[in-house]
Structure formats: structure tokens, C-alpha cells
Symmetry: C2
Subunit: 316 residues, 2 copies
DNA sequence: CTGAAAGCGCTAACAG
DNA sequence: CTGTTAGCGCTTTCAG
């Protein structure tokens, strides 16, 4: 495979001249430019981007840290990032952590290794203290709010959103309200959900919070548990429309009417929610991803709040 | 940021020695190794992977070409790839083409540029002739069958699957059968659908094939068109469960019973299909992705067929 | 066991 | 407008 000096030799010019035509510099005579161009075509030459990156110290590559690669919410953010990356001619590499701290740090090190220009963290497992040092090597933007000045944020005000939903559920006359979350209390999002719940409804009835719900199947199981409780909830807030869909399935399987016997509201406005007519709260995760990409590329440390919307359908 | 020679100087050894401890070579005295290790820790040093890649000519990075970044089918394959990549310690970069030929070639050039060790093509827009030359620079594996010896394949026998489904629909007594596809006849998949259809049912009634269906909304529109036909189809085969879901929605909106008034069958066994009780044909796209990853990493040019399954629910 | 030196392929002053 | 030259940060012979 030919390299720049082969081309230079064959075109009868110096490597700098070849480099100049490669980078569209002015001050190259038309003849030489043409000659070089011709040889490059003949040899089917392409510059070794690795060498270019090495010297430039920049890769036009952004990494996206996602905990799971099979979660609708993270997928949506990833899609947002991807949307923008195409426009701006960046490449995106996906970095799945499964919430493994060491893995996460390993990915962050790619910044230091000069493999990535920036990293977008959709969800993290390390403390910010562990992460901050890496901001010296490239931009790191978070899809969760943090007031740290070195971190750009494209986030949704989850707490406000949870508060809103619970308020909405309450306004519909519900008192016995249950909810599901993805992770346990180690997760900030779960903590916020619990906080908001308590603010609106007070203490959480035993059995009203079911964690580790990711899929429809998990939702189904959660539905079963919840609807078997002696003091059965009249409304359930699910952490995603698929989970909500599973709950719906179970409820229907025991001939409950929605929302008469049990009200259900999900999150992220996904197809299954549309199909089943489930109310949902749309956090506009695609926009979150798009904005995150912009922040990363512009090395901006701004805090951008993305608005959420409650989608009213008939399940509550 | 410290580099290898800084470390060497500070540890009082040569760069080669540092390089040796970096790469776990034997024949380094314990004292020197310890000294180097110590300085590396103090300086918080990590090697510049770009420089390493440059000299090694290998990146441990695989690219995945997908046409759209918001299509469930391609997402599933991507997830399969991601699953395996974590295990094998590879990074995955996502390359969205929107079926733009030039973009696709640009991505293939990354192989030549030494940015990628291999590329997985989930769907292509260029002819194989345009693609083959790039197999000289890294492994390229396809998620569509091709007999070209230089291309590894992890594929589903789409034609057989379409034949099977249409046969199944026919066995249920349907004669007026419509279907939807994503792309128009420029797409191989569409061509195969049409071919299989004709083999089972003969000519296609005018209006029975609706293309450019990607989302639920598209499905809804397709349902509307199809069910307004004078000779209305009694069964519809949708190219995905979300599209099927849209059709279902429309059918229900005009009070049709499924499958009594119209039978519906989708593809890929997605949540919405489960939620709506739609029969589906599961092409096991995640497995396709996993297998594709293995082929790419092993630089294998094998042809691996992944089996599909019909999921029987009550919509047909 | 260790170090010097020659690159990997390319860019960017610098001096014409 | 063009060529020379010195690196970018690392690996790998080749001699000790």
C-alpha cells in the first residue's frame, strides 16, 4: 500500500507538496497539483488517518458511554448523537459499560489515549471525582445534571418531571400509587423518583416500589406483584413504556380494565405505548442526545435543559 | 501530558525499557520494571494509542454500516455486535449511510486508512464490485448473503422466510394478501418479498404492495390505504412489528376485529408485537449481529445462515 | 538484560 | 510556489 512518499516520488515532487494537495492548501501550481492527483488516483491512494490523527492530536471521533446496549432510553440518546454526527462528519463509537466502574474508566482513558476527542456519558457509575481528571484530555459531557464547571450537560430535569407526573396522578384522584424503576437505590434516577414520590404522596407503602425493571417481561412480573398486594395500587408509574406495556399485559390477563381498575403511565413515548394507548412522559431523549453531541464537539461546558412533555392518552 | 520518553528519562532508563514494561516483555530486571511502573503511576501515564496503532497497523476497532440509525431491525443487529464486542474487548463505531453510496465508500475507506480492522455491512447501497477492493485492507462481513469468496456472511435466508410466511398465510385460507416493505424495488429485500409473493400467490393485485414503511405512522397510513381498497385484502404481511402495529391501530380505529376482519403478521418479534398480540416472524437479528462480529474479528469468510422462527400469536 | 537508532505515515515550520 | 527537515509517540531490530 502506497504512502505519501511513494506518491511524492512517483509524481516527482516532495512529500510536502503531496501533503499540500491532500489538505487543499493554496500555493500549489496547477501542473503539480494535477500530477499528484493523477498518481494518487492511479495508486488508489488514501492517507493513513492514524498518522494524521497522531500528528494532529485529534480524531473527529466521539465516544458515547451507555450502560446497556439494549435499553430503549439509551438507544434514543444514542440515536440523537448519531443524527448530529452525520451532519458534522464525526464518527461515533459506542462504549457499553454495564455499569462496570473499571470499564467506564477504561473508556475515559481513551480520551487520554487520544483515541477520542470527546465523550458523552448517558449514565455513569463512577463518582464525578473519578471522572473530572479526564476533562483535561477532551470534552466530557453528561446527560445528567451536575454543577461541576468542567462538565457540559444536556439533561432533563428528572426531579421536576417525576414531581409533575406524581402530581398529575394525584390530581386524577389516586392515593395508592406504585412505581417501578430500572436500578435500585444506588441509582440517582431511582433516588429522585423516590424523593419526588415522597414529596407528593408521603411514605411509600411496602411493596409499592419495584426495581430492576427493564423489559416487558419485567413489567409483567411487576404487574403481577403489584396487583396481588392486599392494598392494591390504583395507579402505576412505570419507568418506560415497555415496562408499562408488560404491566398492561398482566392487568388485561386478569381482566382488569385500564384505567378503571388500574391506571398506568409510562415513559419515553415509545411505539408500544402508542399501540396500547398508554399515557407517557416524553423526555425527548433524542434531543438530549443531539444537544449532547453539539456540546461535545464545541467543547462547550454549558448546562442545557431539555423540556419534557406529558403525553395524554387513555390509560390514566 | 507525559510521553514515553519523559517516563524513560524520569525513571533513568531508555524508552525501549519503558516500552518493554508497557508490553509485558520478559527480560526486564525487577528493579527497573518497578522504577518505571512507579514513575508511570506518579505521572498518571497512558500510552498514546494512536501512536501504537500507527506502528502496529491494527486498531481493535470494528465499524458497523447501518442505513438508518432509527430502525429497529438494524438496531437489533447492532446490539448483537455490541454484545460480542464487549467480551472481546473491541470498540464499535457506528457508520450511518442513509443509503448514500458515497458515504458508504467513505466508510469503507476507513479500512484502508487503518482506522478500522473490519467492517460489518448490515445493508449496502453500492454494488459488490465497488466494495470488494476494500477486502484487501481488512475483513468485511455482510449481513446479506453473497457468494463472493472474500466476503464473510452472517445472514438469514430471507427468500425462504418470505416463502414460508406467505405459505403460512395461504394455509390460513387467505387469497387477497397485501404486504408492506421498507424500501422500493431498488432494495434486494423488497425484490425478494415480491418474488416470494408471486411464487405463492401469483400476480400482485394493484395496490397490494405499499413501500416506504418504516414507522407506526407509516403502518397506520398503509392500513388506511389497504383497507380502503375495493377488493380489500384479508391479510397483511408487514415489514416489522411497528408497521404492523400501525396497521393494527388503523384497523381497530374503524372497528375491525383482528384477525376476523383482517389478519396481520409482522416481523422481528418486537415489544409492540408482543403487546398487541401480533404474530411475527423472528429473524433473530441479534444473533445475526453476534455472528457477524465473530466473523469480522476472526477474519473469517464463512457463510453462516441464522435460522428464523415464526411466532404464533392470535393476529392471524 | 538494556540502550541506540531506525522507522510507522504524515504535517508544519523554515528557508529558499 | 516548493523542498528540506524535524518531529508526533511508540515499537522493534540490532548490538552489546
Amino acid at each position: 500500500m502506497a504512502n505519501i512518499s511513494d506518491i511524492a516520488r512517483m509524481a516527482g515532487v516532495s512529500v510536502s507538496t503531496v501533503s499540500r494537495v491532500l489538505n487543499n492548501h493554496k500555493y500549489v501550481s496547477e501542473e503539480k497539483r494535477a500530477a499528484v492527483q493523477k498518481i494518487m488516483n492511479e495508486m488508489n491512494y488514501t492517507p493513513n488517518k492514524n498518522a494524521v490523527d497522531l500528528i494532529r492530536g485529534e480524531t473527529k471521533m466521539i465516544g458515547v458511554i451507555i450502560p446497556y446496549n439494549n435499553n430503549q432510553a439509551f438507544d434514543q440518546m444514542l440515536h440523537g448523537v448519531l443524527n448530529k454526527s452525520v451532519e458534522r462528519d464525526y464518527s461515533i463509537t459506542v462504549l457499553p459499560t454495564k455499569y462496570n466502574k473499571a470499564k467506564e474508566i477504561e473508556y475515559l482513558a481513551m480520551l487520554k489515549n487520544k483515541l477520542l476527542d470527546g465523550i458523552i456519558i448517558t449514565s455513569r457509575s463512577n463518582n464525578w471525582e473519578k471522572i473530572i481528571p479526564y476533562t483535561n484530555y477532551g470534552s466530557v459531557v453528561s446527560c445528567e445534571y451536575t454543577d461541576h464547571p468542567d462538565i457540559g450537560c444536556s439533561y432533563i430535569d428528572r426531579y421536576a418531571s417525576y414531581l409533575d407526573v406524581f402530581q398529575y396522578i394525584k390530581s386524577k384522584g389516586h392515593v395508592n400509587v406504585a412505581f417501578t424503576t430500572a436500578r435500585g437505590i444506588e441509582s440517582i434516577s431511582t433516588q429522585q423518583t423516590i424523593g419526588a414520590y415522597k414529596e407528593i404522596f408521603g411514605e411509600i407503602n411496602s411493596g409499592y416500589h419495584i426495581s430492576h425493571c427493564y423489559s416487558m417481561d419485567d413489567g409483567y412480573d411487576a404487574g403481577q406483584k403489584l396487583l396481588s398486594l392486599r392494598e392494591r395500587p390504583t395507579a402505576i408509574y412505570a419507568n418506560g413504556d415497555e415496562v408499562a406495556g408488560g404491566i398492561y399485559q398482566y392487568a388485561r390477563s386478569i381482566d382488569y380494565e385500564i384505567p378503571k381498575d388500574v391506571a398506568i403511565i409510562g415513559q419515553e413515548n415509545q411505539p408500544i405505548g402508542i399501540g396500547l394507548g398508554l399515557s407517557s412522559i416524553d423526555h425527548q431523549l433524542i434531543k438530549v442526545g443531539e444537544q449532547a453531541f453539539d456540546l461535545a464537539v464545541n467543547k462547550s461546558k454549558q448546562k442545557m435543559k431539555i423540556p419534557y412533555h406529558i403525553i395524554h392518552r387513555l390509560s390514566i
